[in-house]
Symmetry: C2
DNA sequence: TACCATTTACTTGTGCGCAATTGAATAATA
DNA sequence: TATTATTCAATTGCGCACAAGTAAATGGTA
């Protein structure tokens, strides 16, 4: 009777766990910095898109950020409440929700620009390592998304 | 008047975002597999530790899995409810909660052993890439944890 | 035009994640 | 011993995350 091999179930053999833990720790590192701006991490990445694009549909945000409407809708409402964005229905297609960056939201950009280098410093990787991590996570992400369709 | 450089705020220049998105997508990929076992991802990683160790304190689980008690306590209660683990106070130190794997929980291991290779296949990385991703995420994790203390 | 399918967004329910607070047990120290 | 500090766990509150279900607008087709 051969003994079953459970090695694959060892936490130390799983890449999923450090990835999961690292992602959580990363969001935690953002905490103090984002608190100054009264933003959560999810609100922050929405704002990042808005700072780049000024205007976007809710659908575009959901797709780009890999967020469900169940997550995105309340996030957008909070950002509107904070007057960083506006939410209005598109005229051509009443289903679409048009999100626009407000002046208030635009101002926030200057208070956020110092954050990325701080986080990079926390992670303490070399440039090559950052690039490698970037490529690997995007590759895995692409592969997993293909499986879904 | 020099124009401010906002490049670091571009989503495409952030390693944090793909890491965050990849982690979420990964947990989502586990979904269908874990559903067969009636487990969530967090419950699953707790079980992984228990499958390896049979006995652990709540504190050890929290530290090893980087989980807060606010997260861990209800998770452990659910796993106890499902009779996969038992929870009892330690005799020597009444503060400590001793978690033990039950027979029911041990059985689950056989139904879980096929999952890791499925997930690895979903991610679609080469062995070298898996190893690199493993090293990089652990390195970043270690570095970030040092900053906290 | 009338009917059906798809798209977009919202809502509800459940669980994760964490900060902050509390309480009990233990350890450390005057 | 009495006092104080620390540790471990639970609780509360808030927001994220997502599945499932619903509704309205649009597009496609008989």
């Amino acid at each position: 009777m051969k003994k079953k091999n459970y090695d694959s179930l060892k936490l130390s053999n799983q890449v999923c766990f450090p990835l999961y833990a690292c992602s959580k720790e990363l969001v935690r590192q953002y905490g103090p910095f984002l608190k100054e701006l009264d933003l959560t991490y999810t609100q922050y990445i929405v704002m990042m898109v808005m700072w780049e694009n000024e205007v976007a549909s809710s659908r575009e945000l959901a797709e780009y950020l890999h967020l469900d409407y169940g997550t995105l809708t309340p996030v957008l409402k909070r950002l509107e409440q904070a007057s960083y964005i506006s939410r209005e229905r598109s005229a051509e297609d009443e289903r679409l929700l048009t999100i626009k960056l407000t002046d208030e939201g635009r101002k926030l950009k200057d208070r956020a620009v110092h954050i990325p280098p701080c986080i990079a410093e926390c992670m303490g990787l070399t440039m090559d390592e950052f690039r490698a991590l970037y490529e690997l996570t995007y590759k895995a992400l692409r592969n997993m998304e293909e499986k879904n369709n």
